[in-house]
Amino acid sequence: MSEETKKPAPAGKKKFELDERLKAYKGVWVFIEHERGAIHPVSLELLGEGRKLADMLGVELTGVVMGPPGETTRSFCQEAFYHGADLCYLIEDPLLQDYRNEPYTKGLTDLVNKYQPEILFLGATTLGRDLAGSVATTLKTGLTADCTELNIDLDVRSLLASRPTFGGSLLCTIQTLNYRPQMATVRPRVMAMPERDATRNGRIIEDTLGMIESSIITKVLEFIPDEMQDKPQLPFADIIVAGGRGMKKPENFKLIWELAQVLGAEVGATRPVVQAGWVELDRQVGQSGKTVRPKLYIAVGISGAIQHRVGMDASDVIIAINNDPNAPIFDFAHYGIVGNAMTILPALTEAFKAHLATARKAG
C-alpha cells in the first residue's frame, strides 16, 4: 500500500466527529457471492483484505451468505471462516436460488439495518455491482466503485477507498464520512487470495428473508452457461505471455503464442492489440480489461501505460522485452531485455524449452 494513503486527511481540514447515531455501526462485512453452487473467488479475496482492516479497527470480520436452503449454502459459511471470517449472517430461502435484485437487496439491506456494520464490501462483478448500487441507494449511503486499495484512517475510523480516476492515469481516495455503512466494491484479482486455514471456525447467526415468490416481480426463465472450454481464463492464469503494439503485425503475434505454448501460459494483450483485432477482447489486460495476478508475466512490445499497468502490477515476477530502454514498463518490471522482440522472443522460447528439458531430466 502506498505511503500516500497512510497519511490522515489533508492538513487544514477540521477534525471530523462522527454523528452519535452512527457510532453504533461496528464491524467489517463481506458479501459472499456465489452462483451455481460455487463461491466467487473475489469474495474470498475480500475476506483477506477485510481481515486486515477488521484487525486495524479491532472489530469482527463478518461474511454475509444468502442462498437456497441446504448444505451447499452452509458450506459457504465454512469457507468464509477458513478465509478469515469470525462470524456469518446466513439467510436461507428458496427464493434465493438464483440471483435476483429484489430479494437479495431486501435481504442484505435488512441485515445491515439490524446489525449495523461500519463497512460493507462486495465484488465488482455483474452481480456485485447490481446489488451494491441498489443496496447503497436504499440505505442512502456512499459507495465507492472498483477500488484498488483499501485502508483505514484510524483518527476518524474511516475507510480510505482508492480507485483509478480519469482514464486510469491517477488514483483518488474516496471517503464516506458521515454515513454508514461505508460501502465499496473491488474487482476480482485486485486483492491477494488469503491462505485457506481449515482449522479456523466461526459462529453462524441465521435470519429470514420474509418475502414470498408472488411479491417478487422478476422471474428467472432460464440460465445459459458460457462455453467454458475455449474461453480464456486470464484472471486465474499463473503464467501469462502478453504482447503489445510493439509486435507490429498480427503475423508476428504468433511468436507470443509459441512462447505461451512452451510455458503452458495464457496469452494476454494490450488494448490497441485487441482493438486492432489481433486477439479477442477476453485477452485484454488492464483497467478496461482483466485484472491478472500471475506468478510470471512476460510483457513483450508493451510500453507500460498506466491503464495496462493497473491490470498486471500485482504479478509476482514481470519480465519486459522492449526496444526502448526508456519505456515505462522498465520502471516496474523485475527483469528487462532491451531489444527487438522479433529476434528475442524466438530465442527466449528456445531457452525456456532447453532449460525445462534439462531440469526435467535432472529431476
Binding site: 440471483y99 519480465i319 523485475h334 526435467r360
Partner: protein, 281 residues
C-alpha cells in the same frame, strides 16, 4: 410506449493528459463526447421504437454545454430532450445524481408516463455503473443490469423478457414494465444520423430544467451536500522502489541474453521454475 434514455456527456478520456509536475488533469481543450456506452442504450431504444412504436426522450444532468450531447441524440432519432442543469448539482456523486435523475424522470412522466428507462452500462469517466441501479431503486422500478438483448416486449401485458450477462453465463429474465435497463455494449451499432434528423436537431428546443423545473423537492439531497462520498485526495500511483534489472551479457546475443535471464530468474525465484516444470510434466 415511452422510453427515457439517460445519457452523459464525458471528456474523451483518450485525450486527457496529466500535468507531469502537478499531477492534475489538464482538461483544457479536451473534447467532450456522448459516453460511448450510452449510445448502445440509445440505439436499443430506437430499435424498440422502430419495432413497437415508442417515444424516446433523452435526459442528461450536467452543465449547460451538455445540451450538445442531447442534440446529438436527436440527430440519431430521439424525439425529445431534457437537460437538467443547476449550480446546486455540482459535485454530485452517484447517490445524488440518481436523486436528480429520478426526480426529472418523474417530472417527464407527468406528461407521458414512462415505461422504460435505459442507461449505459457505465461511463468512461466516473465509471462506477452505480447510477442505473440507483435510479431504479428511487423510482421503484424493476432493475435489469448488463442486458445484452431484449428478447420480447408485450405492451398489452406490460411484460418484457431480456437476456442479462452474469458471471459464467446469461440469465433470461422476465419482468414487468416499468423497468430500468442498463444496456451492455456490443450488441448493436449506432445508426447514422439522417439529414432530416440533423436539421431537426439543429432547431430542436431542448427543455432546460433547473432544480425547480426538475421537481427537486429536497435540494440538500443533490450536489456536494447530498453526496455521501468525498474525494479526499488525488495522487499518482507510487513507482516501484526498484527498476527492472536490465539483462546484459558479453555477447548480448538474443540467445545468450535469454539464457542469462532464465538463470538469474530461477535462482532468485525457484518457485517459478517449479511451477513451469509442474505444468509441462
Amino acid at each position: 410506449m415511452h422510453i427515457v434514455v439517460c445519457i452523459k456527456q464525458v471528456p474523451d478520456s483518450a485525450q486527457i493528459r496529466v500535468h507531469p509536475v502537478t499531477n492534475t488533469i489538464m482538461r483544457q481543450g479536451v473534447p467532450t463526447i456522448v459516453n460511448p456506452y450510452d449510445l448502445y442504450a440509445l440505439e436499443e431504444a430506437l430499435r424498440l421504437k422502430d419495432e413497437y412504436g415508442a417515444r424516446v426522450t433523452v435526459l442528461t444532468m450536467g452543465p449547460p454545454m451538455a445540451e450538445a450531447a442531447l442534440r446529438k441524440a436527436i440527430s440519431y432519432g430521439a424525439d425529445d430532450a431534457v437537460l437538467v442543469t443547476d449550480r446546486i448539482f455540482a459535485g454530485s456523486d452517484t447517490l445524488a445524481t440518481s436523486y436528480a435523475l429520478a426526480a426529472a424522470i418523474q417530472q417527464i412522466s407527468k406528461d407521458i408516463p414512462v415505461d422504460l428507462v435505459f442507461t449505459g452500462k457505465q461511463t468512461i469517466d466516473g465509471d462506477t455503473a452505480q447510477v442505473g441501479p440507483g435510479v431504479a431503486k428511487r423510482l421503484e422500478m424493476q432493475l435489469l443490469t448488463y442486458v445484452s438483448k431484449i428478447r420480447s416486449l408485450d405492451t398489452d401485458r406490460q411484460e418484457i423478457v431480456v437476456e442479462r450477462r452474469s458471471e459464467g453465463g446469461v440469465q433470461v429474465l422476465k419482468t414487468k414494465i416499468p423497468s430500468l435497463i442498463t444496456v451492455l455494449e456490443g450488441n448493436n451499432e449506432m445508426r447514422f444520423a439522417t439529414m432530416a434528423n440533423m436539421f431537426r436537431a439543429a432547431r430542436y428546443p431542448v427543455k432546460i430544467w433547473n432544480k425547480d423545473a426538475a421537481g427537486i423537492e429536497d435540494p440538500t439531497k443533490t450536489g456536494l451536500k447530498g453526496s455521501p462520498t468525498v474525494v479526499s485526495k488525488v495522487f499518482a500511483p507510487t513507482p516501484r522502489a526498484t527498476k527492472a534489472e536490465i539483462i546484459q551479457c558479453e555477447s548480448n546475443e538474443p540467445k545468450d541474453l535469454s539464457v542469462t535471464l532464465l538463470a538469474k530468474m530461477f535462482t532468485k525465484f525457484p518457485n517459478i521454475e517449479k511451477e513451469l516444470l509442474k505444468r509441462s510434466a
